[in-house]
Amino acid sequence: MSTTAANLHHDEHHHHESFISKYIFSMDHKMISRQFLITGIIMGCIGVFLSVLFRLQLAWPETQFGILKFFLGSFAKDGVLSPEYYMALVTIHGTIMVFYVLTAGLSGTFSNLLIPLQVGARDMASPFMNMLSYWFFFLSSVVLLSSFFVSTGPASAGWTVYPPLSALPKAVPGSGLGMTLWLVAITLFIVSSLLGGINYVSTILNMRTKGMSMNRLPLTIWAFLLTAILGILSFPVLLGAALLLIFDRSFGTSFYLSDIYLPGQGALSNVGGSPVLYQHLFWFLGHPEVYIIIMPALGITSEVIATNARKPIFGYTAMVISLVGIAVLSFLVWGHHMFVTGMNPFLGTMFMFITLIIAVPSAVKTFNYLATLWKGNLRLTPGMMFSIGLVSFFVSGGLTGLFLANAAIDIPLHDTYFVVAHFHLVMGSSAIFGMFSGIYHWYPRMFGRRMNESLGQIHFWLTFVSAYLVFFPMHFMGLAGVPRRYYMFTVIPEFNVWMDVNVLISVAAIVGSLAQVIFLWNFFSNIWFGEKSVQNPWKSNTLEWTSPIEGIHYNWVGAIPTVYRGPYEYSRPDREEDFYPQHIPGDDGDHYHPEPKRKEAPDVITVSKDKEVVYFSLIKNVFGLNRA
């Protein structure tokens, strides 16, 4: 195996790359990660922009806005948003942010960038599948965005698209062609996610360099591994749910439909289905999905905090165990989204129990972050600040989860603004901050240049403060019984007291989204004009900084570095410098982590050319056969 690989390696170095093979249909994981990131950023801008549009409506209903008229045309007659289109904006905002930005944009970008670089591999297990993964994602984004140009508007049944609402075009106009496009987009997205996930898992399990045992993996890689496993196990269920919904919508089946009467159509012929079935299938993905979103962010934070605190991450093993715990438990808690759907109350009890238990590993992670900061020597770079922001949001949003996890308290809080506040803090803001942290930290690794620090710091503080201003007051709205997804509050006199809060939230949201302009400028201009980075700008231990900063195909000239110790050996008392890179040989070797080394380094370039090798080595690795 290794001889073939070496030969291939030799050949690949000399082949010429055209513009198309280098920048468009690239199979280099670093280029693919850039493609994921930039597509994610563009989708993120659209998602944020949509939220500003509906925040305008919520704060100043009945006020005419030129901007709405300009962008939405007949959907905002005289500059006032229509209720149908408000629903569409909310739905597409949710879909874009959850799937396209925080799943593909975050996990896709950093899994692609860091997995081969940090485990010491020349590329992904299958670069071709990796490329397909990006292009399916791209196609999916295009299909989703194309639904804005449909005359009946995009999907508007909420990002969870519960049937019957999403199945009946007569119930809401967005459930016509817009909904079909949504389902097609999500199907493509799932394909992309699976192609990526399988690749990540096989790369991490098979292609670690010499000495890179599982207990020397950086926590980012652990997070990406578990995220990919969650995705592989849960996305197919969403695919099933989406397919059944497509059948119900287009082929007259009744999986989710029963006993429906619609004015203008009369009693429908669908009998015997159950809308609650869809909710079970959806949340079987939907709940692991929020961990698919947050775990990569937590992984990035672990790495960034340890590097910038110049301290070993506190309790590496506990961090890994808690990640595994979160991953396993996340499959058993989906029912807490359904306490008031009429589900058997006994099930509610079980789901409440497991959901509250999942708070334990989350708490352990938070405490370990705090312990890592304690007596550190903190370099407060933008990346570090965003990681600290993540921990703050994770605490604020995570704690409100304890209210919602409790079935009895959930009864009056379900589907209110309290829920909106909760998940925007714990999975929205927190994961976005993880993403920003990763971008600021690995920007030199991605583009070989530096971002402007001052702009980064301003970006952080504006975003951080405005995010809290947006989401914190929403808790009180929820506790006062204001349901979510309401188009306006002026028609209900009791809710009029919230108008000033709505104005505050909207102004904060506008300021927060304008702060992203600073980021966009900082990000895009420095790709070309930024100051050139040195090889290891953060004095980090991990392997990605040993590969040439200019970014060459197959990552290392010559042999892949061998790993001698864990990734978080910062400020070792026996060392002069405050870091000790993984690849530098040392006398004490495994003194601090006396674990067995991995015997052989599979120096494989493009294993996809030899598919059997991947599959067999995957099976071997899983059953521990390759020790023999």
């Binding site: 009693a267 109350p345 402007n452 997804r485």
Partner: protein, 484 residues
């Protein structure tokens, strides 16, 4: 490069200004009227002004940092030491943040519903307070530690961080503490949840059906026989919006359906002829029509040409025939028929307000007509989804009358409402029904003033007050049977 940046900022400002100009509200006149005190009309414009001011401020800030960067390059000294700035900002953030949180509790916490108008709401509130206590402690400690650590351990040249990679004892302690807290919350939560969901079967609650549709609610009271007729979506018609099993209504519906089927199949047969006629119309009269009219004509021609109309007609026929089949199915079996078409529906009352009797258990039986709705009663701390095809229920006991609630709040206009909490379409935000909690006497007067929706054989059934259900006030400590 810096020039590009400044130019782009100016461009953004200009674009926003143009958008602002396109606001009809924004004009010198409006600005003047706003200054004269008409604040409402200018609301939008002022915020746009704020946006522009913000952008300009941003540009100025960028220029300042630009200069500082330049000077750093020239002199080699850092003017902006972000490490210190961030440390102090973190400290300021946690101080002002905590003040802000306390301020929020005062400013907006007063709107929070803490007093529940239902019996089960009180344990929920207690549960909530316990959770708030635990989470509040954790929130304050962790947030303060996070930002104070950021402040205290900021980078200093020459200092080395403490090498401290793990401490198993400490980690076990802070795994066990959350575990114990969670165990307490789980046990308390289980008790509360069980008490809400599994009620004493010896107490027979008053039953009210809550019917949800796009976009409104109806309540159905059982009338003097205390029985609700078995309604079905098959029987819904314009004169029978809840689909009660009323024989003469169903006969009418069947006739309508058969007439529909005839006319639709007729249209199906005439479809080719219609197509030819439309085409002729398009060719001959096309020139004299307005564009809008032509578009409509064109659309109908397209609809036939693409087969869409034929498909729709086929579907409609299938739907109506199936509905007739289902109605006939019930009537075929004598037992079924006797079960459904008993007379209990005739005295059912359909109302646009929900009236509840103080201190008497009530069970809401939820039904949805078209999509999922969620009956949300914030003041009673109650919520349950209304799912088409799956009846759901929620049982509770109101303990505060509307009058008392008004007096307590000092607000004469206050009323309890039932809102829709599950997104259900364009009218979702305005889908609610008033709830009135009153004494038995007041309730009796109200129910007597209501008219049953249907008449049997020309004789109206007079509504009678519900007999005070003696079992409703039965000993609540009686043994509870759980149906796990």
């Amino acid at each position: 490069m810096k020039k590009i940046f400044i130019v782009s900022l100016v461009l953004i400002t200009l674009i926003s200004a143009i958008m602002l100009m396109s606001l009809e509200k924004f004009s010198a006149l409006q600005l003047a009227s706003a200054m004269a005190g008409d604040a409402k009309s200018i609301n939008g414009s002022i915020n746009w002004l704020l946006v522009i001011v913000g952008l300009l401020l941003g540009a100025i800030l960028v220029l300042i940092f630009d200069i500082s960067n330049l000077s750093t390059k020239i002199t080699g000294k850092k003017i902006l030491n972000w490490n210190n700035i961030n440390a102090w900002l973190s400290l300021a953030f946690i101080i002002f943040g905590m003040i802000g949180v306390i301020w929020e509790f005062g400013a907006h916490g007063k709107y929070v519903i803490t007093d529940s108008a239902s019996a089960h709401g009180q344990p929920i509130q207690k549960m909530f307070n316990t959770t708030l206590l635990f989470t509040g402690i954790v929130f304050v400690i962790t947030q303060i530690l996070l930002f104070v650590f950021t402040f205290m351990y900021k980078k200093k040249e020459g200092r080395k961080a403490v090498y401290y990679s793990h401490n198993n004892k400490l980690e076990i302690v802070w795994t066990l503490i959350p575990f114990v807290v969670m165990a307490i919350l789980v046990l308390m939560g289980y008790q509360t949840w069980k008490d809400i969901m599994y009620k004493n079967p010896n107490i027979k609650p008053n039953k009210i059906e809550i019917f949800a549709y796009q976009f409104g609610w109806n309540a159905r009271y059982p009338g003097s026989d205390n029985q609700l007729g078995e309604a079905s979506f098959n029987y819904i018609s314009s004169t029978n919006p809840l689909g009660l099993p009323i024989e003469h209504e169903i006969d009418k519906l069947k006739e309508e359906l058969m007439a529909d089927i005839l006319s639709i199949s007729d249209a199906q047969k005439r479809l080719p002829a219609t197509y030819v006629a439309l085409l002729e119309q398009f060719e001959s009269k096309g020139a004299t029509y307005t564009t809008a009219k032509l578009d409509i004509l064109n659309d109908s021609i397209d609809k036939i040409k693409s087969g869409e109309l034929a498909y729709e007609i086929k579907n409609a026929l299938f739907r109506k025939k199936k509905q007739l089949d289902r109605i006939a199915q019930v009537e075929k079996s004598a037992v079924e028929k006797a079960k459904v078409f008993n007379d209990v529906s005739y005295d059912d009352l359909i109302t646009n307000e929900i009236h509840l009797i103080l201190n008497q258990e009530v069970e809401f039986l939820f039904r949805a007509r078209d999509v999922i709705h969620s009956a949300y009663l914030p003041h009673f701390k109650a919520q349950m989804n209304c799912v088409p095809g799956m009846p759901t229920k929620f049982r509770f006991k109101p303990i505060t009358t509307s009058e008392d609630a008004r007096a307590k709040r000092g607000d004469e206009t206050f009323d309890y409402y039932l809102f829709c909490a599950k997104v259900c379409g364009s009218g979702h935000y305005n889908m609610r029904i008033k709830i009135i909690v009153e004494t038995q006497e007041q309730y009796n007067t109200w129910i007597k003033s209501q008219n049953p929706a249907f008449v049997k054989g020309g004789k109206k059934v007079e509504p009678e007050p519900l007999p005070l259900n003696p079992e409703n006030n039965a000993d609540t400590t009686a043994k509870i049977a759980y149906n796990f």
